[in-house]
């Protein structure tokens, strides 16, 4: 087991419980997805793992390669080989593509492989990263993360704001990276349809708790996923209290 999260709790301002006892696992070379609506706690979960929330998670253990990394600094966790690509891509907007790559240790002579994966970036090395398209920014964020040679990549909504064609290209690249470099991915997504295609396992998170988990076929068969993400409800129309409960929840 490469990453094992045991019953973690993340609390903001001492009273706002955002993650409430989440446990999940990630094996070497695996892609797992965490699916949930806005405000379910996906971003907080990934940030808690990556050490970006001060003194959090308050409870629980995060075992990465058998070491507890809970509450360790982001710098240390990154150096150990676990890297987060946040939902805003985490680029340095005023730096050029080349400078962004250099910060991840890019070397002109030895790291040309990065342009085999992301050919678009080669022609844009001198461009300011803020002026790239959304898709190119996401590719740059991924390229930068790959250069750090991580064992695990945490991707927060990588498809957010991208055109469907770019999304399928992005998930193809992620699948290729797993195959070529043996990297593991934990992906927080709302785009279930695209991410489920490459996932080995999935979790549904709701109000800070894992409410469902299983293989892609389990997810596809789940009424919850069908109804809320895949648009194929087979349930009878809800009425009254049932409908109220669902609307409040989602």
């Amino acid at each position: 087991m490469l990453l094992q999260i045991k019953n973690i709790e993340t609390v903001y301002y001492d009273r706002l419980y955002v993650i409430k006892g989440v446990s999940l696992e990630l094996n070497e070379g695996e892609i797992r997805i965490v699916v949930g609506p806005n405000g379910a706690g996906k971003t907080t979960l990934l940030k808690s793992i990556a050490g970006l929330i001060k003194d959090q998670p308050r409870k629980g253990e995060i075992l990465f390669a058998n070491q507890n990394i809970a509450r360790k600094s982001a710098e240390k966790i990154s150096k150990m080989g676990l890297i987060l690509v946040p939902d805003d891509r985490g680029l340095f907007p005023e730096l050029t593509v080349e400078e962004n790559l250099k910060l991840a240790g890019w070397d002109k002579k030895t790291d040309s492989y990065i342009f085999d994966i992301f050919p678009n970036l080669k022609a844009k090395l001198k461009e300011i990263s803020n002026y790239l398209s959304g898709g190119e920014q996401q590719m740059l964020a991924l390229a930068r993360a790959i250069l750090k040679k991580p064992k695990i990549m945490l991707l927060d909504e990588p498809s957010f704001g991208l055109a469907p064609k770019v999304v399928s290209e992005l998930f193809r690249i992620i699948a290729d990276l797993r195959k070529e470099f043996g990297m593991s991915f934990l992906i927080a997504e709302q785009n279930v349809r695209a991410s489920i295609e490459i996932a080995d396992y999935g979790y549904i998170i709701e109000e800070g708790k894992i409410v469902f988990q299983g293989t892609p076929s389990d997810l596809r068969d789940s009424e919850l996923v069908k109804e809320l993400y895949l648009g194929g409800s087979v349930k009878k129309p809800e009425k009254g209290w049932q409908l109220y409960k669902r609307k409040r929840r989602w």
């Binding site: 990556a50 990154s78 340095f92 730096l95």
Partner: protein, 292 residues
């Protein structure tokens, strides 16, 4: 013309000091009020060296000045590394840490009085004489200030724009979380910004020490004017800080020469206030928008 030249001279000094203010502000959003005191500490050391090796040759000046500036830079690095960073780590806000720097400034002023006494010290001119350039009479002191300031600015430009450490420094000022997830050693890199800022101010202090009498507060006035220069040019823009400081230096000198020497400082602060009212981000600064 004399007033203009005097304004350019003092403008370059303000520019070196304001570059230091901007470097630290960009990386931390802290206004370092101890900035002039780190530099003053180094200048007192330089004066001690000059007193000890009293032949006052140019080499002794360069060595003493260099040693003083490097020492003030090291003090600044240590203060960031062990005090300010610890505050940041514990979640102290930039405003809270700005207040901490006021405390550090008082500490250094008191320490300097204990070690060197409260009497002002005179520093002899390290160059004297005049020369003529295109019909304009200039002092060698002016030439040294301009050449050294431009050289320091060029070196700072190369360090910040071309080295990996400089790129990391710019990265931290743009996205702290992303810098941390990339494994950038934020503590060391921001410490480096403190080092550079005090090095520039230390050199500025040594260049103007012969004009002022050196006491614990002698860099406070240039610091405030450099701060106004940074406000005018843009607190997050190094080129803006240089241009803003030159504007302050020249305006101050011309106002002092032609209008009133008594109110020249007040006039500079008045201009600073006007800029804060109409363009708070400065000429070259970017509007800061924060998500609540």
């Amino acid at each position: 013309m004399d007033y203009l030249i005097a304004g350019i001279q003092v403008g370059f000094i303000y520019a070196l000091v304001s570059l230091g203010i901007v470097l630290v502000y960009r990386a931390t959003r802290i206004l370092n009020f101890a900035h002039p005191d780190f530099a003053t500490f180094g200048i007192f050391i330089a004066i001690d060296i000059l007193d000890k090796y009293g032949d006052k040759s140019a080499w002794v000046y360069i060595l003493a000045g260099g040693a003083g500036a490097i020492l003030s830079a090291c003090v600044s690095f240590i203060i960031y590394f062990f005090i300010i960073y610890e505050g940041q780590k514990r979640g102290v806000s930039p405003l809270g840490l700005t207040i901490v720097t006021i405390g550090i400034a008082y500490f250094f002023q008191s320490l300097e009085i204990i070690i060197w006494g409260a009497d002002p010290k005179a520093v002899p001119h390290f160059v004297s004489g005049k020369f003529s350039l295109m019909g304009i009479e200039l002092t060698w002191h002016f030439a040294v200030i301009v050449v050294v300031s431009l050289t320091i600015m060029f070196i700072l430009y190369l360090l910040i724009m071309k080295t990996r450490l400089g790129i990391a420094l710019r990265a931290i000022s743009q996205n702290l979380d992303a810098s941390r997830t990339l494994g950038i050693n934020v503590r060391f890199v921001v410490g480096f910004a403190f080092f550079l800022s005090s090095l520039a101010s230390g050199i500025a202090g040594i260049l103007i020490a012969p004009v002022y009498s050196v006491d614990q507060f002698f860099l406070f006035d240039p610091f405030l004017k450099a701060f106004i220069g940074a406000v005018i040019g843009g607190l997050d823009s190094p080129p803006g800080a240089i241009i803003g400081s030159l504007i302050v230096g020249i305006t101050e000198s011309l106002f002092g020469g032609y209008v009133s020497i008594k109110y020249k400082t007040a006039f500079i602060f008045f201009i600073g206030l006007i800029f804060l009212g109409i363009r708070p981000e400065g000429i070259f600064g970017k509007e800061i928008k924060e998500r609540v």
